[in-house]
């Protein structure tokens, strides 16, 4: 037996660790929450970590999960030991290959962090929807319930597949297990070697396809033989369960951890049994320990092997005394006779009964229920309710547990207060900001406690759905026994609130146990803090007799040069107060962790962190809690009372982190939500906001153009309205002739601004006497908040500029159009949202948007509130997200529908001309809708038409009434990131471009998979480091624009608003006006580039000036007019590419790791840029003879 060592890891790392050491070829594609498995594998291979046979596995990122499945299928056919990692939709894309791999009886293991499938909504969280969709593929399905099991079963699967030849899908719960950090026993290489039979490896390789003894697989068969050969594999499936048990037994001998395919836990003569799979079993187990000790005859059957389903083994594991069984499925199959595990359990019992082999004393009642969808909490209270249901004379069947279903009344009631967490477990919760480093520090703390003490440790982290100002909640448990509580902490004995402002937004002390320690980061000091607490918080502190500590962590951070990073300080406080470790030892361990975490980022960082640790204790003080509540003010309502009812009652509850309490009836049945709700979520995350100085302003509106969150807005208005303005509202005479005599203002939405500073960076107007002062300047928010709130409220009452009165649309005038995309959850300083916002300003009132999954679908559609909104007429973008891979097709389908509607409406209009009137028909059909005025006029005509047809009883008229709005032109936009456009969705994108229908494609190109955390895409430029391109990408960026141009009929623009905003505005207008397919490839700076995004615009300029990102517009209308279709909008490169590259960490990393390689890659980048521009210049000079047909009429402007 190898020497045992304990490690503190999550299940993704635990499973990947085994998979990497037992594989030769690993093909992957990023998808939450499995991405980190692939990332670990890549990291290990890039560090030359070898598998147990001494060779470094190949790790290859593919263009989609379908691609990854194809690649591993090929690899295993050719005899390499292979694996892959995936989840959710990604797993669905692998299904076709899974059938093949199983049909061909090929040893193989895939590891899946099980995740919800997108139905009425996408969810990145965990349930078994995805793996259950694979139960018919022929894969063996092995379920791990804990982090330790994910480590152990990974090995058992890799070992058993070689013998059984049946491929394995090894899965564990996404998030609850995949991302839970736990202390586990590590399997050494020696353990792995003892489990793998070398003769089976040889046999596997001997079956490989090779021209040295050629074979053929993948034939096509006919009715005469397919069926028989399909049945020929049966013996293998029959033998598989037994083989797995053999390996489990061998594993038990090696490690001392004995597993069973179907593992019973509980009272030996149990009468009530729950059958389940996944992390929920641990919680059930926790309840059983408590209940059996009280004498209850309850038990649980943990199903580890779901496929092949071994009915005999399954039944044999259940006590004969059982009278009632509840089968819990963590999935939902609408319309089915029951969820899969329930159906299998029923089948097993019924078959045994029919065959007379039933082991049970009495025929048990069997019911099925659903739990835990999308990581819904599953607590001992819920387990108790499930057992209680079994005690009923007629237990509820097809029930749900964990929600309140007040519509179809499926749910079991449960006592939310019921709590059985063991007293010897330290339960600590920490509320932090993503940016303050709380989670990172907590992960360190778990490692310290897990690896330096005998305690077991568990860490689970809850994140925000917003990417800026994101709140994180950490749940840490430490105790002398392995921790089985697979749910969020419900009674904390330590609560750390790392941001004072949270106390006004969230019920931070809701979970505080009596006598718990409460640590607060407060700017008000020991004496004054109490007076600043909301009433509810004071009450909770007094009622629950909390021990209350404060520290001004930001003060300590600022004095030690830590900036906004208070992680080390708060971590030191935790150790100092909680007593988990002796103080001196804890500090030594924290410092050790700091050295490890920051050592490679520079000595100075380490020094500053050390200083912060040393300065913390002197600044940490206990507050003497007064006997009575003294505060007069309570926590303000989450949502303004002016908000619509649904926003107050549904989204508002979600905003307050109480969404779990909402019943089924609170929601629409089909996943439809109203738009325009971010305006009700006042997040107040900026410490400083921009303030406009009208005396300096040149009224260019660039600040508005670059604002990622649409929080800075200009308007022109009638001077008469200024009389009603609050004091302090700023306006000035409008300068340009188009709205002569009007007033001009720029106003910031003070509670929505994220404080990114891009507006300051772009502002060209400077005070001549003091150029540091611009027309827009950052000021601390708190002192001016009330004034600016009043100003903003007034600003919102001002009428918007009449769209039809705006003549030429340029940067300045475009910003007078109302943005119909506002206050999204995108990162502060995001470089994508400006394009989306512009789209909505120019075309939002007639736009349909198909959005590929990715950052833009998350900040565009992640609840509780969403940013797409409506204008005063109730018009605005209609938005939907289908999938990641199909977005071009999805948007194309929308266009087909819109075109069909318009065509049918036209046919009806013509047919109904006698009723409607020829003049109106003619006017509608011949309307010029090329301008805002033209569209407004058409809308009026259509309104008239609808009024007329409404009076008619003709069926055709009724049809026309519902379709008439399609006679006003619509703009269909297909929006997504580079991962979609260049990689997973490229096939569809290409097809849609080829079809040349009037759709507009917007590619938000961050040159990396941003939403899943920085994996390389084919848009990643040469020389940039990304996950799966750790040494710096050696190949160049795919020229998507050139591919699109090759069709000849596609409008193509490459834009970068930070470099040339006017060109961006032109491109959007041309794309919309072009009647065929258009694609805009838009440079988007991103946090994944690794620099302070307030310099985003400067980097965009450098990208263009260096030739790295040439700007152009390719307009087929120009070719029709005999000119070159391609027009270069950026000049010859002015600076070397390296000057652009050196400012971004993604490039600098290569330079730091290997300067020589960087020099080579920079040289290649330079050569590529030079060549590309020379090529474009030549293309731009090509003139084709003007065709004879009269095609020049609608030539490009």
């Amino acid at each position: 037996m190898a020497e045992k060592s304990m490690i503190t890891v999550d299940a993704n790392e635990a499973a990947a660790s085994v998979a990497h050491r037992l594989s030769e070829v690993i093909a992957i594609y990023p998808i939450t929450p499995s991405s980190t498995m692939g990332e670990f594998a890549d990291e290990w291979s890039s560090r030359s970590k070898r598998n147990i046979w001494g060779t470094i596995p190949f790790v290859q990122e593919m263009q989609s999960e379908g691609g990854a499945a194809g690649a591993v299928h090929g690899a295993i056919q050719a005899g390499a030991l292979s694996t892959t990692f995936t989840a959710s939709q990604g797993l669905l894309l692998m299904i076709p290959n899974m059938y093949k791999i199983a049909g061909e009886l090929t040893p193989f293991v895939m590891h899946v962090s099980a995740r919800t499938l997108a139905t009425h909504a996408l969810s990145i969280f965990g349930d078994h929807g995805d793996v259950m969709a694979c139960r018919q593929t022929g894969f063996a399905m092995l379920c791990s319930n804990t982090v330790q099991e994910a480590h152990d079963f990974a090995l058992i699967a890799h070992a058993a597949t070689l013998k059984s030849r049946v491929p394995f899908l090894h899965f564990f719960d996404g998030w609850r297990t995949s991302a839970e950090v736990a202390k586990i026993s590590f399997l050494a290489d020696e353990d792995l070697r003892q489990m793998i039979d070398e003769d089976l490896v040889k046999a596997y390789r001997d079956r490989a396809l090779t021209p040295d003894h050629p074979l053929l697989r993948g034939t096509a068969q006919n009715p005469d033989t397919f069926f028989q050969q399909r049945e020929a594999c049966n013996p293998f499936f029959d033998a598989t369960p037994g083989m797995i048990q053999e390996y489990m037994d061998r594993f038990g001998k090696i490690t001392g951890r004995q597993y069973k395919l179907y593992s019973y836990e509980g009272h030996p003569q149990a009468e009530k049994v729950i059958i389940a799979m996944g992390s929920g079993c641990e919680t059930i187990g926790e309840y059983i320990e408590w209940a059996v000790a009280k004498g209850e005859k309850v038990g649980m059957l943990k199903v580890h092997l779901f496929r092949p389903f071994d009915m005999k083994g399954f039944l044999a594991a259940i006590p004969k005394t059982v009278k009632a069984v509840a089968v819990l499925d963590r999935t939902k199959e609408s319309g089915s006779a029951g969820e899969p595990l329930y159906q299998d359990a029923l089948t097993a019992v019924m078959e045994a009964r029919n065959e007379g082999t039933s082991p049970f004393a009495v025929d048990p009642k069997i019911v099925g229920g659903r739990f835990g969808l999308s990581s819904k909490e599953f607590t001992p209270a819920m387990v108790k309710a499930v057992y209680e249901n079994l005690g009923a004379a007629k237990p509820k069947n097809h029930f749900t547990i964990g929600i309140n279903d007040d519509v179809t009344h499926t749910s079991l009631a449960y006592d939310a207060e019921f709590d059985i967490e063991p007293a010897n477990v330290v339960r600590a919760m920490f509320y932090g900001l993503g940016a303050d480093g709380t989670v990172g520090a907590n992960k360190n703390s778990i490692k310290i406690i897990g690896e330096e003490t005998d305690n077991y440790a568990q860490g689970y982290f809850v994140y925000d759905s917003k990417k800026s100002g994101a709140i994180t909640i950490s749940h840490l448990r430490f105790g002398p026994k392995p921790i089985r509580s697979e749910y969020l902490i419900r009674r904390a004995n330590f609560i750390g609130c790392h941001q004072f402002g949270f106390l006004e937004k969230y019920d931070v002390l809701d979970t505080a146990a009596a006598g718990a320690v409460f640590l607060l980061n407060s700017p008000y000091g020991t004496e004054k803090t109490w007076d600043h607490l909301p009433r509810e918080v004071q009450q909770q502190i007094i009622d629950r007799k909390l021990i209350f500590y404060v520290i001004d962590a930001y003060d300590v951070a600022s004095k030690t040069g830590m900036g906004q990073r208070i992680n080390t300080i708060m971590q030191t406080c935790f150790f100092a107060i909680s007593g988990v470790l002796p103080r001196e030892e804890a500090i030594e361990q924290i410092k050790k962790a700091i050295k490890k975490t920051y050592g490679k980022k520079g000595e100075e960082i380490v020094k500053r962190n050390f200083q912060a640790v040393d300065d913390t204790l002197a600044n940490l003080h206990e507050v003497k809690v007064p006997a009575k509540v003294t505060a007069t003010v309570g926590r303000p309502p989450t949502v303004s009372p002016q908000a619509p009812e649904q926003v107050r009652n549904v989204q508002g509850v979600m905003m307050a982190n109480k969404g779990d309490s909402l019943p089924v009836s609170a929601f629409g049945a089909d996943g439809t939500w109203p738009t325009g709700t971010t305006k009700w979520e006042k997040r107040n995350i900026a410490l400083e906001i921009p303030v406009w100085d009208p005396a300096i302003c040149i009224q260019c509106n660039k600040c508005s153009m670059v604002c990622p969150h649409a929080t800075i807005r200009p308007n022109v208005f009638d001077p008469a309205l200024a009389a009603k303005a609050p004091e302090g509202f700023r306006s000035v005479d409008y300068k340009a002739p188009d709205f002569k005599g009007m007033k001009f203002t720029v106003q910031v939405a003070p509670e929505d601004c994220t404080g990114c500073g891009l507006c300051i960076s772009v502002c060209p107007a400077k005070d001549k006497a003091n150029p540091k002062h611009k027309a827009i300047n950052m000021e601390p928010k708190l002192p001016i908040l009330e004034r600016e709130k009043a100003n903003w409220a007034f600003f919102e009452t001002l009428p918007k500029v009449d769209r039809s009165k705006i003549g030429k649309v340029d940067v300045k005038s475009s910003q007078l159009f109302e943005p119909l995309f506002e206050y999204s959850g995108a990162c502060a300083g995001c470089g994508e949202t400006q394009y989306v916002k512009l789209l909505t300003q120019l075309f939002g009132d007639r736009a349909l948007i198909a959005n590929a999954t990715g950052c833009s679908s998350i900040y565009g559609g992640n609840l509780p509130t969403t940013p797409y909104t409506k204008n005063k007429d109730g018009r605005g973008p209609a938005w939907a997200n289908s999938l990641f891979e199909d977005n071009a097709e999805f948007g194309f389908g929308m266009r087909l529908a819109v075109d069909k509607h318009a065509e049918y409406a036209t046919e009806l209009l013509k047919a109904l001309a006698p009723q409607v009137g020829d003049d109106l028909v003619k006017a509608i059909l011949e309307a010029d809708q090329s301008s805002e005025a033209g569209i407004a006029a058409q809308r009026e005509r259509v309104a008239g038409l609808k009024a007329k047809v409404a009076k008619s009883s003709d069926v055709k008229a009724a049809h026309l009434g519902t379709l008439a709005d399609y006679l006003v032109k619509k703009s269909v936009w297909i929006v997504g990131g580079d991962g979609w456009a260049y990689d997973i969705g490229f096939g569809g994108l290409d097809h849609v471009i080829a079809m040349n229908r009037n759709v507009n494609i917007l590619v938000l190109d961050t040159e990396v998979y941003s939403n899943t955390g920085g994996q390389a895409s084919k848009a990643t430029p040469i020389g940039a480091v990304a996950k799966f391109a750790a040494a710096g990408k050696a190949t160049g960026k795919k020229d998507l624009g050139m591919i699109a141009m090759s069709y000849g009929h596609c409008y193509v623009a490459r834009v970068a608003f930070g470099a040339k905003d006017i060109q961006t505005v032109q491109a959007f207008q041309e794309a919309d006006s072009y009647q065929g397919v258009s694609i805009i490839i838009a440079y988007a700076h991103c946090i994944a580039h690794g620099y302070d995004l307030k310099f985003g615009l400067d980097q965009q300029k450098l990208a263009v000036d260096s030739g790295q990102w040439p700007l152009y517009r390719y307009d087929p209308r120009r070719a029709a007019a005999g000119e070159s279709a391609l027009k270069l909008d950026s000049g010859a490169p002015k600076i070397p590419v390296s000057e652009y590259m050196q400012n971004e960490t993604r490039f600098r990393m290569v330079e730091k790791i290997d300067p020589k390689r960087f020099a080579e890659l920079a040289k290649s980048a330079q050569e590529a840029a030079t060549k590309r521009i020379a090529f474009y210049e030549q293309l731009a000079a090509v003139n084709i003879a003007k065709p004879k047909a009269d095609g020049a009429k609608d030539a490009a402007q």
């Binding site: 939450t32 899943t1012 955390g1013 290997d1154």
Partner: protein
């Protein structure tokens, strides 16, 4: 012709060497400079501030977005070899040292005592034959007087000298109230050499955009005169060897530098402009000039026009200033 000279204790065949420039980090260029006969290689400064700044900025850019959003708990691969610190520079020192036979002088510009000491030691360990301390410092604080600035430089030199065994030169700026006093103090603190002078990269102003513009102008022979004056003043009065840096473009410039007392003549702008071959050209022309003017060796010429030996020492002093102003008026 014997052009040999001694600089920082190194017996060199002649005084011409490239001064600190980016080419000192480029192995190909370094080899070319050695091939052109460079007497030594001076590497550009490792800036402590730059390392700290990059370390803070990178940590901020990488760590702030991390662990914030469930789907993206980090945005960069976790690469062990990625380290922010002097390693990149030190690695280059090692490579340059391995690539050439001539002495390699590493340069260091620091702001804290810790930084100076640590990096100087590391440079010596990496194989540098000498260190050039660049005391570039711009005092902007009204409470910081000249003596404070000077004392700090002396303290740093003392500390570095105590930490390393290899020779240490100090590259000075021309902005001291009394350069001879400052030089004397450095000399006392055992500076092995003084390099006159550092060129300040002063930002320009764009009057249209009201922005500061970073511009780098190469030097011209005009800048030499300042060096000549102070070389002449110090020559023969300090134990430290002297190097002229800034404004040497022609053989005449180089000869003037030696005549005013330079033991080494560093060239940057001329090398960047004309390529490494200019080193060879100047060296050849210098030998020819000495022969033509019947000097027996370079040594004979060294310091011949310094304050002590020049036939008109007042020219280096205040009188010259008065004289030139008056003659200018008269023209």
């Amino acid at each position: 012709m014997d052009l040999s000279t001694t600089y920082l204790g190194f017996k060199l065949p002649h005084p011409i060497m490239p001064g600190a420039s980016p080419w000192g980090l480029d192995l190909d260029k370094v080899r070319q400079m050695e091939d052109a006969g460079a007497a030594a290689i001076v590497m550009p400064s490792l800036f402590e501030e730059q390392i700290i700044k990059e370390s803070l900025a990178t940590t901020d850019a990488m760590d702030t977005p991390a662990n914030s959003f469930a789907e993206a708990l980090s945005y960069f691969p976790n690469i062990e070899e990625f380290r922010i610190g002097p390693e990149e520079y030190l690695e280059t020192v090692r490579k340059v040292k391995a690539a050439v036979k001539v002495p390699v002088i590493a340069s260091l510009n620091g702001v804290t005592k810790g930084g100076w000491l640590d990096y100087a030691k590391l440079m010596a360990q990496a194989g540098a034959d000498a260190i050039e301390l660049n005391v570039y410092y711009l005092a902007t604080d009204m409470d910081e007087c000249g003596r404070d600035v000077e004392n700090r430089a002396i303290e740093l030199l003392t500390a570095v000298k105590a930490a390393v065994k290899i020779p240490v030169a100090v590259k000075l700026s021309p902005f001291y109230s009394s350069i001879p006093c400052m030089a004397g103090l450095l000399d006392k603190a055992k500076a092995d050499g003084l390099v006159l002078f550092n060129r300040f990269y002063q930002p320009d102003i764009n009057v249209e955009t009201l922005e500061m513009e970073r511009v780098l102008h190469l030097s011209t022979s005009e800048e030499l005169l300042l060096r000549l004056r102070w070389l002449a003043v110090l020559s023969g009065r300090v134990n430290a060897s002297l190097a002229c840096s800034g404004g040497v473009h022609t053989v005449a410039d180089a000869i003037k530098a030696v005549m005013t007392g330079a033991n080494a003549v560093q060239m940057v702008s001329a090398v960047l402009k004309n390529g490494p071959a200019v080193i060879k050209t100047i060296r050849t022309q210098m030998a020819e000039w000495l022969e033509k003017h019947e000097y027996s060796s370079l040594e004979q010429m060294q310091g011949s026009m310094n304050l002590a030996r020049s036939p008109d020492p007042s020219a280096y002093e205040r009188a010259n200033y008065v004289h030139i102003l008056q003659t200018w008026k008269a023209q």
